[in-house]
């Protein structure tokens, strides 16, 4: 099933290793197949208490009053925790690396900003007793208008979601409501492009759904410390977040974890530890806070939705000369990690392609939904979806084989990327060649010879668009004409020849502007130098 192609890039590797490269059995496998691997909930304590939170039924509402008198008298209830009991009831996850403002309470006090936001916690002798007590809490709300669409949230007069960010966008650099990427001159390039292709993409949220839900057990230890057994994906991240929220010195906390039932990004947010520790502190007993599957599905943070607009300027020879992206990350009600995903997304634009003119504005937007967080492919998954669908459309539009179209534009060693760093160690072309060979996807000879290495192995080939190889389905019209540019371009292109490529690696004069406005394939390796920080 898996085949190693050791012959490719063999000259860049030493293959004389003893342990590295071997299919050694997992260290943890015996524990896994005997059921003895100890996850956080496989630790047992006498007199364990159980914590459940009351969650808002409203997407946006002011809390008028909370009556927990009956709940506090319910059988088995040891303690009720309200927002006022939380020592530092406002936090943002990335405050540990000084990114963003504290914006999220552990327990909402005056306003709830998403359906499912925790308002109050019950600590009881059983999960059942805690659940039953929650039924007895009476809360009256004044419902507030809510906003669920990222672009609606940015309109003037939109309902403000998060008081730390009244314009419903994260602040970048204290001056912008988005992160910018500027490279070359896209507008000039669009004006000269043979064709412009503008499309919209949307990804709904996605849930991590690890088989083990988020949870932790906080145990009062000797000498005033607390041992916390946790499902976290990031031990010190969770420890330091918990210390901050509980206003405790970090060495009062001893976190134990490391064997986790799947995460995929959904166990970074430290959803349970701070309240479990607080409850253990307030009751003097070990406390477990474990999300139910329903909570995990709906109120554990998902991968946030993204909306992405891409506009490409294409030349008839297959080169992409400009790419403009506008994207919106739906962060939900609070920041968590979405602010960071935006930067990661910006860094990823325009994908693994060398495009001389790139422009992007990416927004982290607040809406009244469950706060989003990291997930496998964070900041990139939806963008890759959008970019690669766009690439397919581009190939169809100019009538090229979609894989050859990608290879033609693929970044190679020495190319300048849009975030102004020189590409190195590239291998996109080789992946394409190997996959194509295996799947018997026909590539023309010049594409089979292409290389990611400096100089491209050989000069970047001159390519004539071969319309017969575009990926349109049988029976579909060949002209996906929806813009005037495309209509104009849709004529047969048998004679189309690109201008000759300039030789690679010829340094441009120092200080020359990004030369994306010409049609020749440019390599930008020395224009910006290597301004590493």
């Amino acid at each position: 099933m898996l085949e190693m192609r050791k012959d490719i890039f063999a000259d860049e590797r030493d293959d004389d290793l003893r342990e590295v490269g071997r299919p050694t059995q997992r260290q943890d496998i015996l524990g896994h197949v005997t059921g003895t691997s100890a996850y956080y909930d496989d630790h047992r304590f006498a007199n364990l208490l159980h914590l459940k939170v009351l969650r808002s039924p409203h997407a946006h509402a002011r809390i008028r009053s909370i009556d927990d008198a009956a709940a506090s008298r319910a059988p088995g209830v040891k303690r009720i925790i309200r927002g006022a009991d939380v020592p530092v009831n406002l936090n943002t996850l990335l405050s540990l690396i000084q990114f963003g403002k504290d914006d999220e309470p552990s327990l909402a006090t005056d306003t709830v900003r998403y359906k499912g936001e925790p308002i109050l916690a019950v600590v009881a002798t059983s999960e059942r007793a805690a659940r039953e007590a929650l039924e007895l809490v009476r809360i009256s709300y004044d419902s507030l208008p809510a906003v669920f669409d990222v672009e609606e949230a940015l309109k003037p007069g939109a309902v403000p979601v998060n008081p730390a960010y009244p314009k419903n966008t994260f602040d970048y650099h204290g001056k912008y409501d988005h992160q910018k990427l500027r490279f070359g001159d896209v507008e000039a390039a669009f004006a000269k492009a043979d064709m412009v292709l503008e499309e919209r993409y949307q990804m709904s949220p996605i849930e991590h759904a690890p088989t083990e839900t988020n949870g932790s057990i906080a145990v009062p230890d000797t000498n005033g410390r607390f041992t916390v057994y946790t499902s976290t994906q990031a031990l010190f991240f969770s420890l330091d977040t918990s210390a901050k929220i509980n206003a405790m010195p970090s060495n009062q906390l001893h976190f134990v974890g490391g064997t986790v039932g799947g995460g995929f990004g959904g166990k970074v947010d430290t959803l349970t530890e701070p309240l479990a520790i607080l409850a253990a502190r307030l009751t003097g007993a070990p406390v477990r806070y474990r999300l139910s599957r329903h909570e995990e599905m709906q109120f554990g943070s998902p991968r946030g939705a993204e909306r992405i607009y891409i506009k490409d300027g294409l030349m008839r020879d297959g080169r992409i000369v400009a790419r403009k992206v506008r994207a919106y990350f739906d962060s939900g009600a609070y920041t968590r990690l979405s602010s960071y995903a935006v930067v990661k997304c910006v860094a990823h634009i325009p994908g693994p392609y060398t495009i001389p003119n790139v422009h992007a504005d990416v927004y982290c937007v607040f809406t009244n939904r469950t706060p989003a967080t990291a997930m496998r492919g964070f900041g990139v998954t939806a963008l890759d979806f959008a970019l690669e669908c766009q690439m397919d459309k581009g190939a169809v539009a100019i009538g090229m084989d979609p894989l050859e179209f990608r290879m033609l534009n693929a970044y190679r060693d020495g190319d300048m990327k849009a975030h102004r760093r020189v590409a190195k160690n590239c291998a996109l072309i080789e992946c394409a060649q190997v996959a194509a060979e295996k799947a018997q996807w026909p590539l023309r000879e010049e594409f089979r010879r292409m290389s990611s290495r400096k100089g491209g192995g050989e000069a970047r080939p001159e390519v004539v668009a071969d319309r017969s190889r575009a990926p349109a389905p049988a029976g579909t019209p060949r002209s996906p004409a929806s813009t005037p540019q495309r209509v104009a371009y849709d004529r047969p292109q048998v004679d189309a020849k690109p201008p000759p490529s300039p030789p690679r690696d010829v340094p441009s004069p120092a200080g020359a502007p990004p030369s994306g406005s010409t049609h020749g394939v440019r390599r930008f390796s020395s224009i910006f130098g290597t301004r590493r920080r």
Partner: protein
């Protein structure tokens, strides 16, 4: 109210008192201390807690514990015989059929239920046997391969 529950758990007679209405999963873990049984949903939707009751696969989280009283219950803790692994366990190792390991005990028991009844399953039989068990890591293929391989190597043993 507490109710007495008596089981033959992995061949041993055991007894304990449990809360009325308690599910078998919680009783196995909390009363009998068998932590090899994992819980994934307490809704009967993920298969993580699969055990064998009277030789048949059951979702222990939605099984009333006292309804099993007097019956045999098998968990992954009973799969191994001393130092020897069950052929299914060996096959899961050989095929790298576990990643996070959390679904593994339930998968193994679902697979055992199949092989106990059908020592020569087809791929479709295996797919059906594990179709109630969620795995979020492996993409199922290594698990299917491991079960088929265990069957080939003769996983059926006297319990």
């Amino acid at each position: 109210m507490k109710t007495p529950i008596q089981l033959r758990l992995n061949g041993e007679e055991v007894a304990a008192f449990a809360d009325d209405g308690a599910n078998l999963l919680d009783v196995l873990r909390e009363s009998f201390g068998d932590l090899t049984v994992k819980g994934g949903c307490w809704q009967g939707t993920c298969g993580t807690c699969t055990v064998l009751v009277g030789g048949n696969p059951r979702l222990s989280c939605v099984t009333l514990a006292e309804s099993c009283s007097g019956n045999s219950v098998e968990t992954v803790a009973g799969l191994r015989r001393g130092a020897d692994l069950h052929p299914l366990q060996s096959a899961f190792m050989e095929h790298f059929a576990a990643q996070c390991g959390y679904c593994t005990p339930g998968m193994l028991m679902a697979a055992k239920a199949l092989l106990d009844r059908n020592p020569n399953p087809t791929r479709e039989d295996v797919v059906d046997a594990i179709c109630g068990n969620i795995c979020r890591c492996t993409g199922y293929e290594p698990i299917i391969a491991a079960i088929l391989d265990a069957a080939r190597k003769g996983a059926r043993r006297s319990a």
